[in-house]
Symmetry: D2
Subunit: 143 residues, 4 copies
């Protein structure tokens, strides 16, 4: 067990529906792709996000940002690299690097920050509420 | 008060994000546009759908179809004409005609069929559960 | 080589962004999922759709329909089974069956019909314009 | 005519398809809403963006950010306030404030930065290429 949080890699193919009339993936898809990476991150540390939510623990965004470097095109295979950027009592942040798999080039990077809440969107402290999850996030994998 | 259900007209502008690399609105947006028409229909007969749902009454789809006649393009003003096609004890169906406002031409038409359910998606009879809504649907407006 | 067109199976995971406040995947995603199956179908018969389009051959929809049997939920693994339903001079149709992989149950089925066109959306005969693709579609795989 | 760029206000209603299983509008919709504001901004300064694009001048994003303050819910009426934040030779930036109309409260704010390009996504100088548009952007309205 190490203090270093892991990077989780997730592969996906750009959908036709994700393109726009510029002929590239519309920028509003990148937050969705980040979320795919985040979903995979939680799954791989042993706490699928669907299970976390079914316990009444939600993780809405407080802010996000994204830098677009190269366009993504229909049928491109994309690799999303997801890691934790910040971890606090009631908050967690993720950093994402998005690569074109065939080219091997970074095409976008971004961050999302989140607060843990109950179903009524009131803040909760994840360390007390769900210590096993907190530890898994801290170490990047299930303890 | 008449037995004839009303047609509700709803206007919207095609979003850039709705286009695809063919240069037209992607076909998956039409069910979303139908839903905009349906939302407006419920609002105009006096029962906003958000209020219906907050009472624990949901209206998931059982099937849908859509015929695409002419493409819709970015910044086109679209008019959705919504009306009830079938109304039964536990079910309701809607028909939609979508027009290009500037051209005045029909560009698509479609139907969605729905079953009334509770929050656990179990069927409910709307006539007993919410008679005022049933009457409003029957007559196309609040009684 | 057989006359029987093949069924292509494509696996995907339901995205959080695809859910709605009913707690299930929104119905407008099913046409997108059908398209994922269609993309995979073209790829597996040896003619990736991105390459077809880069040759100036488009395949817009003329109509679609979908029957919803069971809801799909966030993180469900879905299997889309895609096959050709009709193949004509200027048209092609696809049938889709969508399964919940874990349950093994059919959750939705649908069809899309398409016309082959040039970049200006004028109909073209695929048999003359691109005979190798026509043959591959006819036999369900590259000849 | 003043040097002060104008704020353009655009009203829209949150769509059901935009909600997620948290019961709020999914965060990936905010970049789409910003784009609605931007479309309206260009229209109101006399240069509809669909016309700019039909001249072969595109405006892809280089980066975006968004801060989420309060959730938006289905059927909420939203007001997007759009203004230019930076204007340079080959670049333009926009700032957006998103309000809940009924509450009168700011629910989100964000920025998008863009580079002017030709159809092949190569940078172009808008001041030389399309001086009337540059002037309109500079002054926030058609000269």
């Amino acid at each position: 067990m190490t203090e270093q949080t892991q990077k989780v890699e997730t592969e996906m193919v750009v959908r036709y529906a994700e393109t726009d009339q510029m002929g590239i993936a519309h920028h509003s898809n990148y937050p969705v792709w980040f979320e795919i990476g985040r979903t995979d991150f939680f799954k791989k540390i042993g706490f699928p996000y669907s299970q976390i939510e079914s316990m009444g623990i939600l993780l809405p965004l407080t802010d996000m940002k994204c830098k677009f470097i190269k366009p993504a095109k229909y049928e491109d295979t994309i690799v999303i690299e997801t890691q934790i950027s910040t971890l606090k009592h009631v908050r967690v942040g993720f950093h994402y690097d998005v690569y074109n798999k065939q080219m091997g080039t970074l095409i976008a990077s971004g961050e999302t920050n989140h607060g843990w809440t109950d179903r009524q969107l009131n803040p909760i402290g994840i360390e007390e509420k769900f210590p096993a999850l907190y530890e898994a996030l801290k170490h990047g994998h299930a303890t």
